[in-house]
């Protein structure tokens, strides 16, 4: 074993240990915010594994999307609903725990059987390395053009749906106002100015000066 293989093996072991530890923390910690931050650790470790597999673009996309966007969304989602309430113990909770355990063990057995049953035939070609980005680009604009354009429509749908849901346009006004007073813990202007649009903003800005 030469130096390069040793570095690779040590990196693989370190990344695997990081990933397993963080994943265990996600499951076992009772504070959900810590779990969310540790989930970011899991994603970073996966991106390190991608780098070890010579897939730099996938690693960058993993960091950019999963760590930078999805994990931040999860954190925001937790902070938006973060109500400190005490969970009273449910009677017969062991049934639910048993069912969860059975499902998790079954899933583990299924995935394990799949891992063991798959013939991991390694390609004899050299890894594309840095040229992979160019290959991905060429595939995007030749044989994967339709999924590429459909992705933009999917993103558009997600954006419009997010705006409609977040602005709560389809809820009646009294539902919109009363929880908003409790939610607004940051010093902000009241919610009525939102619908007033740009005129309210300019009036406030001139008033500030």
């Amino acid at each position: 074993m030469n130096l390069a293989e040793g570095v690779q093996l040590v990196s693989l072991l370190l990344l695997s240990a990081m990933m397993l530890g963080a994943a265990l923390g996600v499951v076992l910690l009772s504070n959900i915010v810590y779990s969310a931050f540790l989930l970011g650790g899991v994603f970073v470790s996966i991106s390190g594994l991608y780098i070890l597999l010579n897939a730099g673009f996938v690693a960058a996309a993993q960091v950019l999307i999963y760590v930078g966007a999805v994990n931040v969304l999860i954190l925001f989602g937790i902070m938006l609903v973060n109500k400190q309430r005490d969970f009273t113990p449910i009677p017969n909770a062991w049934i639910g725990k048993l069912a969860t355990g059975v499902v998790c063990l079954g899933l583990f057995a299924l995935l394990g059987a799949m891992v063991l049953g798959t013939p991991w035939a390694l390609s004899t070609e050299a890894a594309a390395g840095d040229a992979a980005i160019m290959l991905i680009g060429e595939h995007f604009f030749s044989d994967f053009l339709l999924p590429f354009e459909l992705a933009s429509i999917l993103l558009l749908m997600a954006l419009v749906g997010a705006i409609i849901l977040a602005r709560r346009e389809f809820l009646p006004d009294e539902d919109l106002d009363q929880p908003a007073d409790q939610v607004l813990t940051l010093p902000e202007r009241p919610r009525e100015l939102v619908s007033a649009g740009s005129t309210g903003n300019t009036a406030d800005e001139s008033g500030d000066r």
């Binding site: 991905i136 680009g137 933009s152």
Partner: protein, 120 residues
């Protein structure tokens, strides 16, 4: 075969990044006077007095900005291979990428018109 060729700088950065907090904390531990007054336990010493708890419920507006960010983040990832392979793809790919961007600009215009980008 050294699969990590070109990533020596990344390893160096990781090393420096992991050293910085340890060195900063241990240096300040060595240098600072060890007093245990009540002032020391405030969040911002000789700064603003914090009001209320830190575990508060955040406004929905942050979530909206995060959602808009996610969508344009994914768009960036899709456009990056196109930018790298730009000189090999030609005019047709340029038009196709313009269509891709135009569809997403519709969403941006919608968000803008709906006031989702305003912090009001």
């Amino acid at each position: 075969m050294f699969v990590l060729s070109g990533y020596e700088y990344l390893l160096g950065f990781l090393l420096v990044c992991s050293l910085v907090p340890a060195l900063a904390l241990s240096a300040s531990k060595l240098l600072r006077p060890s007093t245990r007054g009540p002032e020391r336990r405030t969040t911002y010493e000789s700064g603003m007095e914090p009001v209320g708890g830190a575990w508060i419920q955040f406004n929905i507006r942050y979530y909206m900005f995060a959602l808009v960010f996610v969508i344009f983040d994914v768009e960036t990832v899709f456009l990056y291979p196109w930018a790298v392979a730009f000189h090999r793809l030609g005019l047709l790919a340029f038009v196709e990428a313009l269509i891709f961007i135009a569809i997403l600009v519709i969403g941006l215009v919608y968000a803008w018109r709906k006031g989702a980008l305003e912090w009001s």
